[in-house]
């Protein structure tokens, strides 16, 4: 599991890859929070296209980042969710607080 961070202007994109579970989530959390601290973006996009597995720890990761970014007045968007990942996101109701782009993408 890893996250590759790219920054352009005030947009920070985190390209997640591999499996997101309780074990891997803490490293991702630290990496994203550190990048936000350094770059102070107004928009953060988390790209899930290369995520092969995600349990509800991924929802916890998104919710935690949403709260963190809201405090800074920044926005969080999600992109690249496969139908399988979207099933988890829909169940969590996270779409009420975070915009999910490209959610119809096929696996």
């Amino acid at each position: 599991m890893s996250v590759e961070i790219k920054v352009k202007d005030e947009v920070l994109t985190g390209y997640l890859s591999g499996e997101i579970d309780h074990h891997s989530a803490s490293g991702l959390r630290t990496a994203i929070d550190r990048a936000v601290e350094v770059n102070m973006p107004s928009l953060v996009i988390l790209d899930f296209e290369r995520v092969s597995f995600m349990d509800s720890s991924g929802i916890g990761l998104i919710m935690g980042r949403y709260k963190n970014l809201s405090k800074r007045g920044a926005t969080l968007n999600i992109t690249g969710t496969s139908p399988y990942l979207y099933k988890m996101m829909r169940l969590s109701g996270i779409e009420r607080i975070v915009k999910i782009e490209n959610k119809e993408k096929k696996q």
């Binding site: 309780h22 597995f53 509800s56 916890g60 919710m63 169940l91």
Partner: protein, 148 residues
């Protein structure tokens, strides 16, 4: 009639074992020729149950997680048991978004198990431990020639 098949294992409640355990159960179930979605459902539900053992059952210690899997006809039964702290109020623990584990946990573990599996039962005794039993019926698809 397909012969019954089963396996059991006991493993330390370390978070690095989450990936191993969901993969083992999914691989065991693969003889039923599940779809990609069914495999994902099983892996996710197992991951949630195992994470509960690690985070909640043994919060400050490394204990044992006991896994028992069985295939009967086209049904996979997974039993995940711990000898940890137990759950005082199971109904409350199973409410979506309820968590005692802080801001980084979504409180969705049981909701995911109930949505992704066909049957979930939770039994728990405070101070003795918790057993989660889950079943998934794998659809038999036309043209499937898998020997079980």
């Amino acid at each position: 009639m397909n012969a019954k098949n089963s396996f059991s294992m006991k493993i330390d409640s370390r978070s690095k074992n989450e990936s191993f355990l969901r993969t083992v159960v999914a691989t065991f179930a693969s003889v039923l020729d599940p779809t990609v979605e069914e495999i994902s459902d099983i892996k996710t539900a197992v991951s949630e149950a195992v994470t509960n053992c690690i985070v909640h059952a043994y919060p400050d210690t490394i204990g044992k997680i006991y896994i028992n899997c069985e295939i009967t006809d086209n049904t996979l039964t997974v039993k995940i048991r711990d000898k940890g702290v137990g759950i005082e109020n199971i109904a409350k623990a199973m409410e979506p978004l309820y968590t005692t584990a802080g801001e980084e946990r979504a409180g969705l573990g049981f909701a995911v198990m109930q949505n992704f599996m066909d049957y979930v039962r939770v039994r728990s005794v405070v101070g003795r431990g918790t057993t989660v039993t889950m079943k998934k019926n794998i659809q038999v698809r036309y043209g499937s020639q898998k020997q079980r």
